[in-house]
Amino acid sequence: MILAVIARDLRLALRRRADLAAVLFFFVIVVSLFPLGVGPEPERLREIAPGVLWVAALLATLLSLPRLFADDFRDGTLEQLALAPLPLGLTVFAKVLAHWLVCGVPLAVLSPLLGLQFGLSGEALVVLSGALFIGTPALSGIGAIGAALTLGVRGGGVLVSLLILPLYTPVLIFGAGAVDAAVNGIGVEAHLSLLAALTLAGVFFAPWPAAAALRIALE
């Protein structure tokens, strides 16, 4: 049943490739704007690269969040899922995983290319991609709470960023911290472990409040 939900969400995402592409292009464009803003000196770019790439990934995830539940809410699928024998929390968990596969993984795959533009070393690029790989599930999980809370609320898109961005700060800190450590040649394991801890906690606990929020929205 969980797999069925994941497969369904993936199929829907693949039929709407433009949505996925828009999120990735947003990521690329935001990252590319920074050198124009701060100047092309390689030293400075290398210094700001971890933070810029992570903040851009955060914003790109945020941009794709409304799609997590809104379409299903509008055509009534969500009500059916809420009535299904599978606990709603597990359904949300499946949707979070699908969202990560559609949004987080492409960001992680794409990031080394952008890191290259910022003059990161090979090792730092691996850490960057790995940190995004480990950290983005937490972004999808925590984001699900915000997406569920703002479902059907006017001005939901802006509101979700107001609710969710403060909760994203720990992921940003350790994610960017890992890349920063790699750039400076310090051990990255501590950061990555903490990031993995955040992801595990986020993915396993966040679906439940998100499910509660969905029930409120469906009432």
Binding site: V153, G155, L163, L165, T169, G177, I216, A217
Partner: protein, 246 residues
Amino acid sequence: MSHRPFHWYRYASPQAFYPLAGRMIPWFWALAAIFGVAGLSVGFLIAPGDAQQGEGYRIIFLHVPASWMSMFLYLVMAFWAGLGLAFRFRLSSMMASALAPTGAMFAFLSLWTGALWGKPMWGAWWVWDARLTSELILLFLYLGFIALQAAIDDPRRADQAGAILALVGVVNIPIIYFSVKWWNTLHQGSSLNLARSSMATTMLYGMLLCALACWMYAIAISLMRARRIMLEREKDTLWVRKELGF
């Protein structure tokens, strides 16, 4: 059992709580004024000047209580919101909504007085210190709660959605605090050491009195706001009409 049990739940109904709150509010205002005058006079007239910071440190008498209150009120707010979510008490959700603006105000006040204090002491309005950063994020959490409740028209749904957000926020506050703390120590050596080993007792008393004043103020103003919310939400009921004299 000869004595009649006292019904606490009686005051869980807005109808019963409204007049009780009305009777309590003047007392809390009076206490706030007394503690405030006492605390400020201890702080400004009696407490000695600081050896290193001179007279400028006196902003501590507003700054520290405001920070305490901002953190504590978030817990209280989440407690009432959670109670409202779990047991569907209308009144506790109203209390949560009434507390949020006061909490946000204290968080802002704490940041503002901190900036005023930081300028002469550290030479900067703002530094990315762990405490400042987490206080700023706390302010964002308050604003998110207020914005979410304001965006949802149905009050019941607004209460429940706000409650979930407040509870998620409470779980996250320690995580945010520690991650910011580690981030800070990883990025730069801790250059700011606020903790002075020995604080003069008069300073401590002044600060405690001011903290009490802030407490009383917070209770009074939240009760006032809760009364307004009660009237607004229950405007179609008989008791509100009677109260307002229609």
